[in-house]
Symmetry: C2
Subunit: 545 residues, 2 copies
């Protein structure tokens, strides 16, 4: 550790130097664009340069990278291991707190390193139990003669064995609480779900819908859509017994669902602005697509007051409060047996269900074109996944209250959180990360596959053309976003560069004048502060290019 610590120290220095440089640039530039410029300066590296960066960082798995990277020559890149998510493994190997260099957005963790049995993968135990179970079921129990039943049973058994394998052996993701096996389980579930979707995708529409009967015999029947619109009077004077009956009518199970959903989504996205944008954009999408799916048609007050402000808004608010608590909480992990009191033990068990450590997400979409596109992509995929919920129900004839619909949401909450963190890790790094995380990869594939199923199963509904005024709104919106993108990342950049060059020229001229006047033996001594600024600038300009 001590050795590694020294390496880090060296790197911290390099880092600090880099950061200081950036900050000095900010100081030197009166228009206050230091940060943005610094961000872009990085993205403007020459291809060869970024190639070299890529080489050094992409290739390095945490283990070797941490050991083999040169602190001096590395050019201020933190070793991958330091950025690596705090797995369950780290907990155990370090009896002392790890004074490792962390990202500024990551919380400090103290771990006393106990809890061994709980953390182990038990590969041999699982192998043994699996063998016994298989032997018992297939050799001692009699095989039924029903082929269809056996086929079903064979498929279920295959899935269970796959889960056994995956939960024991799959690659760990960024999360480790309550137990890494929990996240490996969801990873395997997403593989199974994705394969199921692919299978459905390759069937004919009729077969696909009827296939659902194998899962639940009640499925595979066309369903009437419930229309949420209709009477939109908040106060209905026509109904004398209960004039607010329209409002009560909308207060169904979807209200807590909306609230809970947005609470969890906030925990996933960890950013107030992105949550609000997605929440509002989804209502716009509902408006735009209500001619395709009737249950998107809601009253205006249902859209904006009940959904956006009350349910989603309150969910996001609670989510942000929780985020605040999670990012301020001290992450101090002690082994259960090292805690003397019963109350402490119970508290420790409860805290097992909170994260091992916390990473604050700072998406910073405006800092570079890459991040901007990534954030747009995330919002797009997020909205697509939300729409899929409704369209998939619609094309596969699933009643909205079916347990599979709920399971899918539970699934998405679990894998979405991991996926979002992996995307953040992929984006937020001084170096480019080696790979997009496995769970993020799968979530993207699943969303795409679901969308393909929707397109394949009901191309008619999906291509119902948008009403003219809605098309106009969307075109306007897209144009605005495009304009902003071009202005922010291209035009503004050129303007800044032009200003920079002009300033340099002026300085050069001034310098010359100064030299000439010095040569004359007269020291003009301009105002002291200005001189300092100039020296700073002279020193800094090569560094910013």
């Amino acid at each position: 550790m001590r050795g590694a610590g020294r390496t880090q120290a060296a790197r911290v220095v390099t880092y600090a130097r880099g950061a200081a440089r950036g900050r000095l640039c900010e100081v030197a530039r009166p228009d206050g664009t230091g940060r943005g410029f610094w961000g872009r300066a990085r993205s403007r590296l020459s291809p060869a340069d970024s190639m070299r960066r890529g080489e050094r960082s992409h290739g390095g798995a945490p283990s070797k990278a941490a050991l083999e990277e040169q602190p001096g020559g590395g050019g201020g890149e933190a070793p991958a291991a330091l950025e690596a998510p705090p797995g369950p493994r780290g907990d155990l190997s370090a009896p002392a707190p790890a004074p490792a260099l962390r990202r500024s957005t990551e919380s400090e963790v103290y771990d006393d390193g106990t809890n061994t049995f709980f953390w182990r993968a038990h590969t041999l135990t699982v192998l043994f139990i699996l063998t016994c179970a298989l032997g018992y079921v297939t050799l001692l129990e009699e095989t039924p003669q029903d082929t269809a039943y056996n086929t079903k049973r064979g498929i279920v058994a295959s899935i269970l064995v796959f889960l056994c394998f995956g939960v024991t052996q799959a690659k760990d993701g960024p999360f480790s609480r309550p137990h890494p096996a929990y996240w490996r389980f969801w990873l395997c579930v997403s593989v199974v779900y994705e394969l199921f979707l692919i299978f459905i995708l390759f069937q004919t529409v009729h077969d696909g819908r009827q296939f659902m009967k194998y899962i639940d015999p009640n499925l595979g029947v066309a369903l009437p859509e419930r229309d949420y619109g209709g009477n939109c009077l908040i106060y209905d004077p026509g109904n004398e017994t209960d004039p607010f009956h329209n409002v009560w009518d909308k207060l169904d199970g979807f209200v807590p669902a909306h609230f809970l959903g947005w609470y969890l989504k906030t925990l996933m996205i960890r950013d107030w602005w992105m949550c609000m944008i997605i929440s509002v954009m989804f209502e716009f999408l509902e408006y735009s697509l209500e001619h395709q799916l009737p249950n998107f048609s809601e009253c205006w007050w249902d859209h904006w007051i009940m959904d956006v402000i009350l349910c989603n808004g309150f969910g996001i608010y609670c989510g942000m409060k929780t985020l605040g608590w999670l990012s301020l909480k001290t992450y101090k992990w002690q082994g259960l047996w090292n805690i003397p009191t019963y109350k402490g033990k119970i508290k420790r068990i409860a805290f097992q269900f909170t994260p091992y450590s916390w990473v604050k997400f700072e998406w910073k979409p405006a800092s570079s074109l890459r991040r901007w596109l990534a954030v747009c992509g995330i919002i797009f995929v997020f909205l697509l996944a939300e729409l899929n919920t409704f369209y998939l129900k619609f094309v596969l004839w699933m009643p909205p209250e079916h347990y599979l619909v709920l399971l899918r949401l539970v699934f998405f909450v679990n894998v979405g959180g991991v996926g979002m963190r992996e995307i953040y890790d992929f984006m937020d790094d001084p170096k480019f990360h080696k790979k997009l995380g496995q769970q993020a990869w799968l979530v993207a594939t699943i969303t795409v596959t679901e969308f393909l199923i929707v397109v394949k199963y009901d191309p008619y509904t999906l291509t119902l053309s948008l009403p003219f005024y809605i098309t106009q709104c969307w075109i306007l919106g897209i144009l605005l976003v495009l304009t902003w993108t071009i202005w922010r990342f291209f035009i503004r950049d050129i303007t800044l560069r032009y200003k920079e060059i002009r300033r340099q020229k002026q300085e050069h001229k001034y310098e010359k004048d100064k030299c000439v006047s010095n040569g004359d033996g007269h020291s003009p001594v301009p105002d002291e502060q200005n001189g300092n600024k100039l020296r700073e600038r002279k020193f800094l300009i090569p560094a910013t290019d």
Copy 2:
């Protein structure tokens, strides 16, 4: 790197001390059992002690462990990262050669760290291509109306998507040449194969056999067994045109198959003795089981001369020669573009198909009970997998020359090599390894599942009782092995401990005498060498306990 290097240096010292201690023990003990004893001394650690060891090592993933382990307090345990297989990642992050501490059985590697693009996982590229392919196939091509065909297509598509995911994202194993994706591919194939086996296992015998028709319509038909026994005369005087016709008869495609098979098996097992034992034991098994499977019945000279000595023996010999070359070869990896000559480039490409580095396997079965049981287990599973080849063909009605039989062998050669290395890594470590490797786990599960299928599909053949004299032979063999085990790991141990205690007592007595005589002012000065030995022993005994 420099920092990490220092950590390693510290650890090398601790290690060297440990090893020296072991060696001194050997010197100190006149019966020459030093090494074995050292091995057992380790396994005799108190439970609490090994628990603590387990804690520190099990939990540690390469990355964190390498950074967080204390060089002083670690008690001479090498960091996991150093023992970690040389992945493709390390190659890239280190422009300078890595002077990492390696196991004595592992070769030194120099790597200049180029070849970036080739090594990257290309997660986003694969995601994009997969999406396009799925979109094209399902949306632009028309879906056939044939349900059975679509089902098949859906399953194949699911498998392909799974392979896509796995090859891009699965956990890397110990091997990295020619490319880690190659080994990830075989890992995924083993998952698919295992799931297929589980499915087959849950069908009725009739359905299972008929199911093979979906893979190849020619399957699912009962087959006549070819009898290899018959006329065993090497020189047949009855046949005047060709008296050696019996010999030529046996020289079929199985001769090169045997040779190649054993060549590859030797590369897997990397131990002359284990190979010979498995080879001979398999012939014994053929003798014992020829009443169950007629194609096990061969002539005595076919068994011992052609199989064991010629085919297997020569295969093992060539394998050992190759092993020798691989362990002496210098592992010096240079990027393709850094090599100036064409010849050099071509050589580099060819060497891409040799291992990245080499680990010599030293199974040392007699060194501890754990290793002995593990080696017995490996031999048992190996023989079981060999028998499965024949029994599985038999119960699933597969003709021996069918391509699926060959594919299964190709599959086993690939995954067996990884599995064996993972088992070796699991066993051979100063600390216990965290997990049994994923591929080893799968190979074990596959072998067990294949065996269960055999038992389920033809319990009648499998329970045909062995002839009496064969049963006797096996009971005798098992008794011998058991006796040896008990003698080697229990009785001999007690004897040694008893001797040790007696020696300690004697020394103690001698010491007292010496003190007394010193007190008298008379120094007896016994023969110098003996005295040195004693001092050594005194110093060492606490260390071995």
